[in-house]
Amino acid sequence: MANLAAVVGIGQTSYTTKRDDVSIAGLVREAAVNALDDAGLTFKDIDAVILGKAPDMFEGVIMPEIYLTDALGCNGKPMLRVHTAGSVGGSTALVAASHVQSGTFKRVLTVAFEKQSESNAMWALSNPQPFSTHLNAGAGGYFAPIIREYIRRSGAPDEVGIKVAVKDRLHGARNPLAHLQLPDITMEEVAESFMLWDPIRYLESCPSSDGACAMVIANEELADKASKRPAWIRGVAMRSEPTMYAGREEVNPQAGRDCAADVYAQAGIKDPRQDLDVAEVYVPFSWYEPMWLENLGFAPKGEGWKLTMEGATSLIDGGDIPWNPSGGVLSSNPIGASGMIRFAEAARQVRNDAGDHQVPGAKLALGHAYGGGAQFYAMWVVGSEKS
């Protein structure tokens, strides 16, 4: 079996449209130093660095680990670069964990980032190639028809997407690092916001952010001696399926269901809504909350939206299973880092270190990321106890 490993340090930058005060190295470095400070460590204490980000075209720096070696104190150490599309932040955390869980390393640093302001994500995601139709208007254009099909199947009312958009922004207003700070947002405001890709409205979409997230992951012996409470890694799972194949279930992808089943089995979770205290789930468009509630087994098929409408996923409404108390991807989206932020925020919750967005007494949390056309999944479950 895998060796025990735990998150012993977490560092983030604040998230914003444009971090015009730092270089790419400076941005990444800030999260790394914050994670080391949180762990009471320095770069000398780190055995390897695992770096993640989404496509190199966002910053126009090919294989940026090569240039970022010095900023991450990695000269003379192993450096690995992960890229699994939008799930990369989560996948990177999993690869970092495997460095320790394999018994190969004692303590590693993992960092994920995006400095989207250096380019234009829409351009980078839909740069037209010869011989192909150029109609894929960014991620929203891809996901909108899938959302429409979910609405048709479930019969969910229009307010569901609006409610998630409001809930996550109210959560984000409790998180000083969140990009969007909208403490007064209302259902009306979201409903009246510009329709981008029908049925996705502007305020039902994630922002485009600069930012970085970092974690220090240590083995059992070092985690036992950590200065702050560790978040023990209780389960890790990843799944992929092809983007398009005949008969693919796009609304409720099998890769997501299988990945969840795998990570729950490792963590001893039978009923995720009952057994987990909080979840940080990759929801870049508001309708993906009800969709993932079903995909991840928190609600029966077709009924995810009911949990949302009941307030079950709202920290502020005192829901039994808060989703994205940090504000989630809807409040901050530095793409390459977004998955790692989910993983790190799950860890903050079980370390009882999430400030104003702490779920009281959280002991077991899910971190989730997905990417591509929702065909890549990465998940972990972290707990305040070893088992």
Binding site: I62, I66, S240
Partner: protein, 355 residues
């Protein structure tokens, strides 16, 4: 710690232009052969899959996504990707097996470098403020490195030409090689310089293609009844990005990675280096203190064909091939990334005990 072995390795021919083939069409034939070699149907029969590729080679974001279409990933599989040479996907896969989440793994790398101007494309992996905006290409940086060695009397142009001549001759026995021939050092030296002090022959060609390997626990290899080579050690180390801060005439990180991988614990019969430039092979050989009793780049190395993003995995595959064919008992495979040998990986492979 679990003993892990390689049980299969296949690659495409190194070709200067794969023509109409797209990524998935490059990968499928290689995977078909490695599945056949190991006796499995597709990626469903291994526990983990990891690949290496680079979007900028062909100029498309998420190039690796198409790779999944070659795997038979329905039902969904455990899969990951590094934006690095597939040798690092190999490394990640080993960690996955060591942690007990897999007993077997498929690793593949692919690249179609022909559509772009590779040395200029790769200039954009340099520091984005000081170096990339100057468009310093990778060949020019290597030429600076070669001149340092020449000026310091560490090598002669003839030493470099001899590396080239040996590569061409060795490649005669490599069915996948792009450049091969019975060439002498004198003939190489008779060529004019291209990017002085480098001649064209000192520089690896641009190649399109793919490679794939299957690894598993030794127990699994024995259960499958396959010949195998045990991976007894593997490590990789990156150095400072600033070429001015490094001793470019040595490769400290290769030496340290080889030590950590346990190179010194036995004789090295064969070494396959990822040396895209002739002088770099000399740097690497010396950094590891290898002598006449080690066969260096018997495949011809990457001077005979360089499948970007797959060549590192190919070095491992070439050593594996020689061990299972009984030509070597123990070998070393090396991979590099970044300008002037900035990042280096070393794996040690040994003949497995008969089942």
């Amino acid at each position: 710690m679990k003993e892990i072995a390689i049980v299969g390795y296949q690659q495409s021919d190194c070709v200067s232009d794969a023509g109409a083939l797209n990524e998935v069409e490059l990968i499928i034939p290689v995977l078909e052969r490695v599945f056949e070699q190991v006796g499995i149907s597709n990626a469903q029969d291994v526990d983990f899959v990891c690949s290496g590729s680079c979007d900028y080679l062909q100029g498309a974001a998420f190039a690796f996504v198409l790779g999944v279409d070659a795997l038979g990933a329905v039902p969904p599989i455990k899969e990951s990707h590094v934006e690095m040479d597939a040798a690092w996907a190999f490394y990640e896969s080993i960690l996955k097996i060591r942690m007990g989440h897999a007993d077997s793994a498929l690793i593949y790398g692919f690249g179609k470098s022909s559509p772009g101007e590779l040395p200029i494309v790769l200039s954009q992996q340099l520091d984005p403020y000081y170096l990339a905006p100057q468009w310093v290409d990778t060949i020019s940086l290597a030429a600076l490195q070669a001149r340092l060695m020449l000026d310091q009397g560490k090598i002669t142009e003839r030493d470099m030409a001899e590396v080239v001549a040996r590569s061409r001759r060795n490649a005669l026995n490599n069915p996948h090689a792009q450049l091969k021939g019975d060439v002498t050092a004198d003939e190489v030296l008779a060529e004019e310089t291209y990017l002085s002090p480098l001649r064209k022959a000192d520089i690896c060609p641009v190649s399109d293609g793919a490679s794939a390997a299957v690894i598993c626990t030794v127990e699994k290899a024995q259960e499958w009844g396959l010949p195998y080579a045990v991976i007894t050690g593997i490590d990789h180390i990156i150095e400072s990005h600033n070429p001015g801060m490094r001793d470019l005439t040595d490769s400290v990180s290769t030496r340290k990675a080889a030590e950590n991988a346990g190179m010194g614990e036995g004789k090295v019969d064969v070494a396959e280096f990822y040396a895209p430039f002739s002088h770099q092979e000399i740097i690497l050989t010396r950094a590891l203190g290898l002598g006449d009793d080690t066969s260096i780049n018997p495949s011809g190395g990457v001077l005979a064909g360089n499948l970007m993003m797959a060549s590192g995995l190919s070095r491992i595959g070439e050593v594996f091939n020689r061990i299972v064919r009984g030509e070597a008992d123990r070998g070393l495979a090396h991979t590099t990334s970044g300008p002037c040998l900035q990042h280096n990986l070393v794996a040690i492979l040994e003949k497995g005990e008969a089942a």
